[in-house]
């Protein structure tokens, strides 16, 4: 199901060409496999997702997860379907009115993909949290859609506690809140590994520090004896490696540093041109900046190497931590560089020169990979883990794309909501002219509305029209309390008053379009969390559909 066979594994020159004509399943999922490939699809197909709550937003999120093929989903809600539910939720029908909403929605969502299991649980989540915690921890990911604030925190606490025990389940929670045109998505995760961020480029060309076979190849070329055809088809990578090597020889082993030197370097390169329009030289000049970009471990990854969890590994460490630890040991030995990637961008070249160059990189990759594997095996042995703990596929994908990994450390939802996280920092730095000011104010309006709900057992804006002003005033008072006088003046800035008014106007009702928008956002994040590919949100995004804008925060 791979969307492309790895070049290093593909067999060539065979007379029998095997047909990989895709089966029905591969054809169904073709458009998504081109994003997350078979590894991502496998993770998705083993994911179990729980939806607590049963509103349109939650069901829209599930729709976008059932379609790409998660393993199973469950909807937990004690409610019976009302006509108000039907009018906003596509996964209900007027016939559903009066029947358990969880059962009805499951029925209509299951139609979307016969490969996905769906079940409902018609029970009060609040009592289930206190009596049956195991029910919740059996899922891969939980979505809480517009449930009562206290229940939301109870579930968040349960998952956070579970993740604190060594080897305990790490289950991300995605919490949704929406009112009219305003929506918010919060993600609680303790620690999340990204094995493939899908960076724009995965090439490690080593122009500044060529491995011996590359260096030798570049220096062995006799440019002056080449005919013009051959000369104009030397790949730019070779031209740059050669020029950099020559430069180093005449500059005490150093590469160009100052802008004058960089210009001089380009002039040196230009001197070898025999004709004005040699495309390979044009490409080399355009790519020359790569020569003074060192091939070392990227900064973001270096930060990870210094992390406690990577420095001190144990038998309960995650695979990514084991791989990063191995990388930290790998670069101790000269040339202190990360493993070579086998990938090479396309460039103006003859077929033979290109294939020859590609083979150099592939050979180097194979030998770096072997060294990395030996090192990893030693490390696994030392901490008492079996050699197969990290699969060959995982090792190879890590070695090929060292720059494309990440670790995200999150915060508990309780900490964020109670303002013990970075909310205070955001308030201190608040500036009404920031692009994110309205979204920030909307977050506070939602936060204050949750406190309003806890006090009144109803949401702001849910009484008759006349009471909106009274509700607004009360929410404003709560917001003032959260701001704690940090924003000057007796009155809170207009943007807060306006944001509160817009949130109250929605009366915490679900607009079908807001539900669909948030359902899409939540599903994208869920896919990223489940596949460990692409970088997920950490930890809050506010969507303002009045102005069609969003802003994200780490609270």
């Amino acid at each position: 199901m791979d969307d492309s066979i790895d070049v290093t594994q593909a067999t060539t020159g065979t007379t029998e060409i095997p047909s990989y004509r895709p089966d029905a399943k591969t054809r169904r999922y073709d458009r998504q496999l081109r994003l997350w490939a078979s590894a991502g699809q496998r993770s998705l197909e083993s994911a179990r997702v729980l939806l607590v709550g049963s509103d349109a937003t939650g069901c829209q999120a599930l729709k976008n997860l059932v379609l790409p093929g998660i393993s199973q989903f469950t909807i937990l809600s004690p409610n019976l379907t009302t006509s108000q539910d039907v009018a906003t939720n596509f996964f209900l029908h007027p016939d559903s009115v009066g029947f358990p909403i969880a059962e009805e929605s499951v029925k209509y969502l299951k139609e979307l993909n016969p490969a996905v299991e769906g079940s409902s649980r018609v029970e009060d989540p609040a009592s289930l949290v206190s009596t049956n915690a195991d029910f919740f921890t059996a899922f891969t990911l939980i979505i809480a859609s517009n449930i009562e604030p206290s229940l939301e925190l109870q579930i968040a606490d349960l998952l956070w506690e579970a993740s604190l025990t060594v080897g305990g389940p790490e289950i991300p929670l995605i919490a949704i809140r929406n009112s009219g045109f305003v929506g918010r998505v919060e993600i609680q995760l303790r620690e999340h590994s990204v094995v493939d961020t899908h960076p724009d480029t995965t090439h490690t060309l080593r122009l500044d520090a060529p491995f011996p076979s590359l260096q030798q190849h570049a220096r062995s070329l006799d440019l002056s004896s080449m005919d013009s055809m051959e000369h104009s088809h030397v790949p730019w990578v070779v031209l740059l490696v050669r020029a950099a090597s020559l430069w180093k020889e005449s500059h005490g082993g150093n590469l160009p540093e100052t802008s004058e030197e960089k210009l001089a370097f380009k002039d040196l390169l230009r001197k070898d041109k025999v004709k004005g329009d040699e495309e390979n030289y044009e490409e080399a000049l355009a790519q020359a900046y790569r020569v003074w970009n060192p091939s070392e471990v990227p900064w973001e990854v270096r930060q990870l190497l210094d992390d406690e969890s990577v420095m001190n590994i144990s038998s309960s460490s995650k695979n990514l931590q084991l791989l990063l630890h191995t990388l930290s040991q790998y670069i101790v030995a000269p040339p202190h560089l990360p493993p070579t990637s086998p990938s090479l961008p396309d460039m103006h070249s003859s077929t033979t020169s290109y294939v020859q160059l590609q083979n150099l990189y592939k050979k180097e990759y194979q030998s770096d990979l072997a060294r990395f594997k030996t090192l990893l095996a030693e490390i696994l042995l030392r901490i008492g883990l079996e050699e197969g703990t990290v699969s060959d596929e995982e090792i190879e994908s890590f070695v090929k794309n060292v720059g494309g990994v990440g670790i995200i450390k999150g915060r508990s939802l309780r900490e964020s909501k109670e303002g013990r996280g970075l909310l205070a920092t955001e308030i201190d730095g608040f500036d009404e002219s920031d692009l994110s000011a309205t979204c920030f104010a909307m977050h506070l309006a939602l936060l204050a509305s949750e406190r309003f709900f806890v006090a009144h057992r109803r949401w702001p804006g849910t009484k008759a029209r006349d009471d909106m002003a009274q509700d607004n005033r009360e929410v404003e008072e709560i917001v003032k309390g959260v701001l704690g006088g940090k924003i000057q003046g007796a009155e809170i800035p207009d943007v807060f008053v306006e944001s509160i008014a817009e949130v109250t106007r929605g009366g915490f009702g679900t607009l079908p379009t807001t539900a669909a928008f948030l359902g899409g956002v939540v599903a994208q994040e869920a896919i990223k969390l489940v596949t460990n590919q692409y970088t997920p949100l950490d930890n809050t995004v506010v969507i303002n559909l009045v102005k069609s804008e969003s802003a994200k925060f780490k609270f």
Binding site: F90, P94, L511, T513, A515, V546
Partner: protein, 440 residues
């Protein structure tokens, strides 16, 4: 509370009378009525609110959806639930198995049927009270008067020429009669990214104004394909562009036919083996020849929701609509960028100024045509050029092609003199473009 009592009472009723109760119960719109009855802090003065607004939305407005694919399915769902009750949808495609990972109104048993018809039927069944009128066919087959009947057009297309066509059609309509400004809401997605925009013909920038933002399709130089292949893609292009016509003569390549893909895959694999190039696969072959763009349900959901949210705001004035472009990027956390895309004065569709081209005195007509094809702001591939004395170079019909082909080798300045410009038309360009020449 009355609704809840009603729900309880209707539980034992037959389905048809249950449906009557449901349709008669206007309290079902409670959530959306909150924003249609109440004014928000950013709501325009023109907003009336209440019954009049709801009546226009639910009983008077007529909305057209172009495309019943990935975005279209989502758009139809959202419009129906938002209260648009007279929806029309056009799509020329039939359902393929690879649509099912996101086009959620379709099932395996629908493969091969018309997208527009199946989608319309599904939405009407799921959301009783909504009328969806399907059209199975091309948008270009409808006369301009067809488009005049709608209040809003929402487009969820994957085809650029179709987008250019509907944009030009609506702009032209507004240019001829300023009473006929029909808003065009346009969405597009690729992988985890997408964009939604609102086009008010003649008032805001139009689709053609931003045509230069499109990344041109990856085109491999023919000499690379023929002589120096390096990538598996080069071998696949060789098989489809050079080998297919050579071997199959007049039989057209059908990229939807798996046997055709199979043949290309075999040819490309053999060529790759010969050049020691690795990585030709069935999926890559299909991806290259069909120019497949990755597509997932969640991104379509976001963009379609944004488009329909704008349509709702335009129809009811309950909140200001997008002015005029929003980008969503989900690869790296969540990022949106909302901005006003400005009108391009020399836009061939809505701008007043003509385009100019810098040309050399030693340029042949052929060289000039090559530079036109390379222009980002034109996005054309098979242009026909005319001047005051008629055809300068037309690739078809064959007799005109034969008559004008000798001009390709002639110098531009000899053909046109110092002053004269050219008129360019192209199958992918919805209007003809006047280009004046500037000899440098």
């Amino acid at each position: 509370m009355t609704a809840a009592v009603l729900n309880g009472e209707t539980n034992g009723l037959a389905s048809s009378s249950k449906l009557e109760f449901y349709l008669a119960d206007t309290s079902r719109f409670e959530s959306i009525d909150k924003i249609l009855d109440r004014r928000g802090p950013w709501t325009n003065e023109l907003f009336q609110g209440g019954q009049g607004t709801k009546d226009f939305l639910r009983n008077q407005s007529k909305i057209l959806v172009i495309g019943a694919g990935g975005l279209g399915c989502e758009i139809l769902q959202n419009l129906a639930l938002s209260g648009f009750n007279d929806i029309h949808v056009i799509d020329m495609d039939t359902i393929d198995i690879s649509n099912l990972n996101r086009q959620f109104l379709f099932r395996e048993s629908d493969v091969g049927k018309s997208k527009a018809l199946v989608a319309a039927e599904f939405v009407m069944k799921r959301v009783p009270g909504v009328k969806v009128t399907p059209y199975h066919g091309k948008i270009q087959d409808h006369p301009i008067t067809f488009y005049e009947q709608f209040n809003i057009v929402v487009a969820g297309l994957d085809s650029i020429p179709a987008r250019r066509w509907i944009n030009a059609t609506l702009v032209q309509m507004a240019q001829e009669d300023e009473e006929k400004i029909i808003p065009l809401v346009d969405g597009g997605t690729e992988g985890f990214k997408g964009q939604a925009r609102v086009i008010l013909p003649t008032v805001t920038s139009c689709y053609e104004c931003s045509i230069d933002m499109l990344t041109p399709p990856t085109a491999f130089p023919i000499c690379t394909i023929a002589n120096t292949p390096r990538l598996p893609e080069h071998c696949i292009e060789w098989a489809s562009v050079l080998e297919w016509p050579k071997v199959h003569k007049d039989k057209k390549l059908d990229t939807d036919d798996p046997d055709h893909i199979e043949w290309l895959y075999q040819q490309a694999s053999a060529r790759a083996a010969q050049f020691k190039i690795e990585g030709v696969t069935w999926a890559l072959t299909q991806g290259v020849v069909k120019n497949i763009i990755p597509a997932i349900a969640s991104t379509n959901a976001i963009i379609a929701a944004s488009c329909c949210n704008e349509a709702l705001k335009i129809a009811t004035a309950c909140a200001p609509y997008l002015d005029n472009y929003m980008m969503y990027v989900g690869n790296d956390s969540v990022y949106t960028y909302t901005f006003e895309y400005e009108k391009r004065p020399e836009c061939p569709v809505c701008g007043g100024e003509s385009l100019t081209a810098d040309v050399g005195r030693d340029w042949t007509l052929e060289k000039f045509i090559e530079t036109l094809i390379a222009r980002q702001d034109l996005q054309i591939s098979k242009p026909s050029l005319s001047y005051s004395r008629g055809a300068l170079f037309w690739p078809s019909p064959p007799d005109v092609f034969e008559a004008t082909r000798p001009n390709l080798d002639r110098l531009l300045i000899d053909l046109l003199g110092e002053e004269e410009g050219v008129v360019v038309t192209d199958p992918s360009m919805p209007v003809s473009v006047n280009i004046s020449l500037n000899y440098v």
